[in-house]
């Protein structure tokens, strides 16, 4: 009797603690939401605008899921933005049936791929880039910061080379509608497919982190890698999987970025790696590793999108938005410190 009571108390304590971890970011989200609702009630709260924001959030949020895994494991991935651009270029090229400029001597052209196949091609490209990061980090025992700083340039250059430094214009396909406003006959979907995909991936990441061995290993590796080794955790294999998943998420984000632009632009998603990292950190993850959550990162992304959108609606220019986002990042980390005292 008393024992089960104790168990319940322990459970309540853990739930409360978990809620508290989300609480900070949630309060932040509520604050910016209410603020802009008051400042720009007509425009910010318009249904159209409320439906626009998740569409804007999708790319960053999905990339942030991969980054969440990587940051909790104590790593970092600076190549996310370049990976998104490369993947979107790959999708565009596959849809056009155009081979990369530097491979023209080998294969001048081929039959355009179907939209689905092209999307999977883009995701596979992201996955490969992630595995490359993971292999370099575990194989050469280099710091993730340096490796991904290198691949950030490498992948961006590759994207430009593949597209011959131009934007690739593929014929319109169904992929373009992933993040578009729903047509009236699609109203039953409630949200565009790309937004559903984002929610699905957030849920999958949350479950992975909490309910699988790999998920717990991610926390253990980030918290203390020596302990992880001592306990027989295959640290190198796990890291390869983590960076691979991170790359795959960036690939999916790349497909959505392509869908958003409807073109393959090798210079797209500039500085996205910092937006993605900021979203994860605002969401309560620690860059030292061992802490963070999928829901937190989703909330972090939402805060950034709400701020960006709200500033426009209130009529503030881009520089205001950058200042406010910067302040929020510092505040989030400072509040996190205070809470943990």
């Amino acid at each position: 009797m008393s024992e089960s009571g104790q168990g319940r108390t322990a459970m309540t304590v853990s739930t409360v603690r978990r809620l508290l971890t989300l609480f900070g970011p949630l309060i932040g989200l509520a604050f910016v939401g209410v603020l802009f609702s008051i400042l720009a009630p007509r425009t910010f709260l318009a249904t159209d605008n409320l439906l626009l924001m998740p569409r804007h959030a999708a790319v960053i949020a999905i990339a942030a899921m991969g980054m969440t895994l990587i940051i909790i494991s104590g790593g970092i991935d600076l190549s996310v933005g370049s990976n998104i651009a490369l993947s979107s270029v790959v999708v565009a090229l596959l849809l056009t049936g155009q081979s990369p400029q530097f491979l023209h001597w080998l294969l001048p052209s081929y039959n355009p791929w179907s939209p689905w196949a092209a999307a999977f091609g883009g995701i596979a490209c992201g996955l490969l880039c992630g595995l490359l990061n993971g292999a370099l980090i575990t194989g050469l025992r280099l710091s993730p910061f340096i490796v991904t700083l290198g691949t950030m340039g490498l992948l961006r250059g590759l994207a430009k080379g593949m597209a011959d430094q131009q934007t690739v214009f593929p014929p319109p396909t169904g992929l373009n509608t992933l993040l578009q406003r729903l047509a009236p006959e699609q109203a039953w979907m409630l949200l565009p497919p790309g937004v559903w995909l984002m929610l699905l991936l957030v849920g999958a990441t949350a479950l992975l982190l909490r309910y699988t061995r790999l998920g717990r290993h991610v926390y253990a590796i980030g918290s203390n890698e020596a302990t992880a080794r001592l306990c027989g955790i295959p640290v190198a294999t796990d890291k390869l999987i983590i960076y691979g998943l991170g790359g795959m998420m960036a690939g999916i984000a790349g497909v959505l970025q392509f869908s958003f632009l409807t073109t393959g632009d090798p210079t797209t998603a500039p500085g996205y790696e910092l937006h993605v990292i900021a979203a994860v950190v605002i969401g309560g993850a620690s860059l030292a590793g061992g802490q963070g959550s999928a829901m937190g990162s989703l909330i972090g992304t939402t805060i950034m999108v709400v701020v960006a959108n709200g500033c426009i609606k209130v009529g503030l220019s881009n520089w205001h938005q950058e200042v406010i986002t910067g302040v929020i990042i510092v505040l989030a980390v400072a509040l996190d410190r205070l809470r943990r005292r």
């Binding site: 699988t212 061995r213 717990r216 926390y219 203390n224 020596a226 302990t227 001592l230 955790i233």
Partner: protein, 506 residues
Amino acid sequence: MSDKPRLQMTDIHKRFGPTVALDGVSLSVDSGQVLALVGENGAGKSTLVKILSGAYRADRGAMWLDGQPYQPRHPLEGRRAGVAMIYQELSLAPDLSVLENIVLGAEPHWGPWVRWRLARERAAEALRRVGRPDLHLNRLVGQLSPAEQQLVEIARALAGHCRVLVLDEPTSSLTAADIERLFQLVGQLRDQGEAIIYISHFLEEIQAISDHYAVLRDGRGVGGGRTAEATIEGIIGLMVGRAVEDLYPRSERVAGDVVLAVEGLSGKVRLRQAGFALRRGEVLGIAGLVGAGRTELLRCLLGLDAVQQGQVRLALLAGQPLREAAHDSPRARWQAGLGMVSEDRTQEGLALNLSLSDNLTLSRLPFFTSPASQRRASGTWIQRLAIRCAGPDQPMRDLSGGNQQKVALARLLHHDVDVLLLDEPTRGIDVASKAQIYQLIDELALRGCAVLMVSSYLPELLGVCDRIAVMCRGVLGAARPAAELSEHAIMREAIGATELAEGEAA
């Protein structure tokens, strides 16, 4: 000199939320005196010392230095007033030179310029006082041995004209010879009129070094007096609040089949041609100095370090033939029933910011798991091992050293390993937890587990183990029954004195 004590602390109270850490502790140290501060982990020693240093402020109570009220608001103020702390973990900058470290934070200066000539003089004087005038001032501290680094830290305290020197578990990372030298130094400093507070779990050290002792239990001073008039049993009795009848329980054990056979095992560093056989129901001890290669042996056995040559053979189930496993990964070893407790609880043994249940179940998680199942598994062990905690979700960081170590051991029990590799399993933990761990080792041996235990604490090895092998400079000696060995004999072998004697005879 005044007749006032150098340091006096009276009626110190300190609370952390609902927990009373100190409940009216008083002590005093005279100049030219060594006071030993004794107590289990959690008894309040570190809180008391942190109040002395200025890291914490007392809720109530007063402190005097040479009769002057002393109320440090932060550690820097404590240091300026002449209270110097030497912690277990040294606080030196490894990339700076000996000289820079000694004068760090108190550089003699003229405006923005450091007066290096004066600094050198002061540093040289301090090194002379710690008995190492030969230590070159320009050497980088990171290149020195742990013992030398500790001397640099003591020299820093002396250069700052300290009035009270606090040594917190100073011997935990030193070799026996260095410990001997440290004791000599403490004696010299005492004779030079320093007041020294010495904190240690090793009661033998306290007997060797201190003039007076004070015992803390549950935040209260429960006794003290002249060390010469006290017995170890008496001090332990004060620490745990009851008489310790039998610290080392030992049932009738029957050695069974060989589960782990090692032949000619060499690692990349230190370890050379080690060989032994470990049987079920047996506790085999490995003695030796720090740095002799004992940890390297265990790490090779678990697959954490690469095996250069030699054989490690394991039997999975009772009665099965031994299987070659020298190049398995740690994961494969765990699956084969081998588990290890690290000597370094905080850096390697445990992930301190994860929860107790995450730490306990880490080596044995199913592909799909859940917080609830992890919690359930941990709950059992918390009860079985009487781990003091708020619950399975409490972060590891918040537990006391003894309870942390119990979790590290519980991980092996939860994994249900057959062979336990224990590296210094009782280092830095309180006597009550030690007794529980000895009890547990005995129970495991009775159940048919095999235990390989590395320890630098000889009474413990002699009390717990069936056989003991001594390691010296990477070479493992033959295992002999513990009953035939004495501390003296083990120490001779550990420092290589037997080889020397034989060499001279030949």
